[in-house]
Amino acid sequence: MMEEQLLPVDPVIPEEADPEDPQTPEKAPGEGILVPQGERELSDEGQLEAAGFQFDHSDLCEPGQRPQIFTEKAAASQVQRSGGRDPGVNIHPESLPISALDHADLQFPKGEFATGGNLMDFSNFLPGKQFDPFQQIVDGSETTSQSSDRLLSPISDRMEQESESAQTAHHPTALTMEPSRETESELDSQEISQDTIPDVYCQSCQIPIPAFEKLFGSHRHHRVAPLPLAAEAAKLECRNNVNKLEQQLIQMETFVNHLEEIFVTVEENIGKQEHYLEVQYDDLMQFLVQGYEDRSQELEEEKKLKLEKLYGELMSCGQRIDLYKELLETTQRLFNTEDKQTFLKNGQTTLARLEEFLQLDFNPEVPTTTEFEKFPTDMPEVQRLIDSISSIPVPSAPLMCPQTPGTATANSMRVRWSLSADDTVEHYQLYYRQLPGGGTQQGEAPADTSLKVKEMYHTIRNLKPNTVYEFWVTATNSTGTSAQSERVKHTTVPLAPTINRRAVASCQDAALIEWESGSQNPACSYTVEFCQVCNGCDWRESLTESLTGITSCPTLIELEANENYLFYVRALNEGGCSERSSPINIRTTGCQLYLMEKTAHLALSILEDGLTIVYNEDDVHIDRPAYDNRFTSCAAVLGQLAPVQGKHYWEVEVSEHLEYRIGVASPNTPRDSYPGSNITSWCMRHTFTPSRSKFEFLHNGTSPDVRITVPPKRIGILLDYDTGKISFFNADIPQNLFTFSQQFQNLINPCFALESSGILKICHGIPIPEFTKLP
């Protein structure tokens, strides 16, 4: 097998092996190095890789032995090739040369080590590119082929030791390349001159030489390189090879592990098979023994019954014979009686008795048959049992795994089940159905859908979000189908909620957010995730905090002041949590409020920004939904602040001629009254006459007499729960216009009302200005 696969490489070998040909042996011993002609040609082209590699082998054996081995090897490889077989490629190219060479010393059969030699040369001569793919293929089979070689070997013990030593020598060999070169260079320099020290490297001969050799000596026409450079190149090559070796070692180890796994698995599987076989034969034997016992007992009983009957018959026949005899004797005696009278007198009774006797119908019968009754053998059962020996048992019902977190999405779900270890299954049939009403309904209703699954898990798609499904499964093999598994409930996760962008309120240290559930069924709870955003940072990497188990919406989250946050909401149910909602950005700089549109008077419009209020006296939007919460008489609307005490500041932009009431009001302020006209509202009122602007600061219908010379266009409102004040400012100048002192027990809402047609714009998210500090 392996050889066939590797055969395409074979044609390369004769070409490359040419230098090994015995025709050029005189050259090899002369130089003392394992450098054949082909190698030189390669290195002339600057192929230093091959050059670096060669020292390995020359270093492994004594110089004196080399020529001998060389020729032998070459001859052997020739033999090998002529044999049309090339086992050498199966052998590890790194570890075997050593053993091969050692084998040569031990005068092993040529074929054995020739394979190694062949490969060694092969690996030497081939440039890396050609060699690599081949080597990778071989990797996997290296150990096996090696061990098989070992088995083939005549003295396998020794071989084992040697190959072991070869493997351990693996690394040291590579590492000692450097010294090896030195020894060679010594050898060479000895050849050239005893006294000179080499200072350049002859690339043609691949030996260090003294510089003058280049100039005047035998290397005159050779290419030379500085010794350090050459050494560096050789070292690099050496390191690369070491790396290669290490990689191969790792691959090898991996493969061994793999083999071990397979070994264990095969062992287990065979063990299982044996167990089945035993069980099944036991069954059959038991059945047959049972049949034998039943049958033999029946026979025994039949025998007894029949013999008893026959015996009884025998007995009655004997009695009868006695009777015959006695009657015969009596009749005989009577016949012999001389006396006529006596004869007649006595003979009368005897004759009558005889007559009577003869008249009895004598019809002897055999009471039972001698034949056997037909005994029914349960052949089909026997047949079935015999058949089952070769087949596998029907699987038992699989076991559904309960839902694990993270396996469900809004419209898909991954279900898993397990199987008894002894069962063999061809496929599973997975059944599921949607459970209405949140999965509380019980019962064995039929499946909506079923599908065939090969694996022990399946991902079902196109499901409804936040919905409970019931799953069960059967296992089938060639013998039959198992019973149904238990039914398990899995829940798809809800869809991501949507944060209501027009219902976000925040202040310095908290934010109020509201969202809408994405799914129809209510989710169990929500998780709010948020992270701080800093300008210029990648906000996705910043730390995310999360608040879990939130059941109330809107919800208030405590934050740090003067930070920028991103908020996400996830919905949770039994199946897990939904995707994140799209984020919303909240700054805890100043306060952010939103208008409660459900409180707005029908004549008020709130523009798309959610902060601009438009009032048109002539245009009442009767088409809008009527909420009880709406202001009915005054064109007012309430705002929502973050529901915490502390300081809140917002501004309102108004035009000079606009008539308005702005301030604060309790959430339950009467909807039919004007802000400032009752005890639950405090507001600044502006009325405009052609002559002048009038400002009032109304609470409970009264205002102090305050006059303002510069009508504000931008009014700042500071609500300070701590000091119990509501202050109004002309934010442009800035000027404190008025301050209400009022300790608020409960939270209150901003209030905006328009008394003439126009536009009022709310500005929020403004840091609390300095000028508000001493109102």
């Binding site: 002048r692 102090p704 007499d705 010379t709 510069v710 100048i733 000027q735 404190n736």
Partner: protein, 306 residues
Amino acid sequence: MFCFLGTKAAAARARAVSLITVTKMALTQVSSAKCFNGYQKVYEHESSELKCKMRFGIYLPPKAERVKCPVLYWLSGLTCTEQNFLTKAASQQAGAEHGIVIVAPDTSPRGCNIQGEDDNWDFGTGAGFYINATEDPWKTNYRMHAYITEELPRLINANFSVNPEKMSIFGHSMGGHGALICALGNPGKYKSVSALAPICNPVQCPWGQKAFTGYLGSDTSKWEAYDATCLARTYSGPLPDILIDQGKDDQFLAAGQLLPDNFMAACTDKKIPVVFRLQEGYDHSYYFIATFVGDHIKHHAKYLNA
């Protein structure tokens, strides 16, 4: 280079020290009492502007021991001395709270032996009207405007640990008038200004007409430089945030001596920001002042402590 600068600075410092010593010599402490952890003191000094001995009250808040505090000048009304404000207005607590030095000078030169100076309660002694008189015999001594805006601040800055850059002014009645004309007549000099029941338009009211005629002569065009309403009409400069409190039951309001509406109209025209609060039930007394002085000091504190 640095050595040279150093010696020069040292020399300058030496001169300054000698100057302070000289002026300090002129200040005589009349009284000192601890009040809200600070000190309420009264000093007497020889005024170069007024050519007479003048007294002023000064409240030094506890904060003044550590840092240079801003100064708030209080100008009292007709007939008052420096004592009225100190004893009746209860300003010290707010001064201590906000760390503001409050200086309360007298309302006119005293003991100048001018003919008829003590004849009227609304002219002469106790009725300086915070103007520089141009008519004989008043013009030598009755230079209250120069005294309040120049001499006194110089004296205070030289003798006390105060921030000369931060000063504000307020007053009551005639002092309210004084505060408004000092502020509107010297744009940018005062960080803020406020007034309690000020005489807003003296050229139009009996008090003002009497005083101005006496001090400035009959040429009414010269009066306008000391009239808050007139100054407002021609004002240009940084807009002061003016706070005015007025008792609704003030008999002088009803008598047409104060005329705040004229001032408000002028400020409305000129867009000078004024908050005018007509306080229900209050009259012209120091009870009214004591009620709202805290608001006013807080109003000034916003600008002085900014």
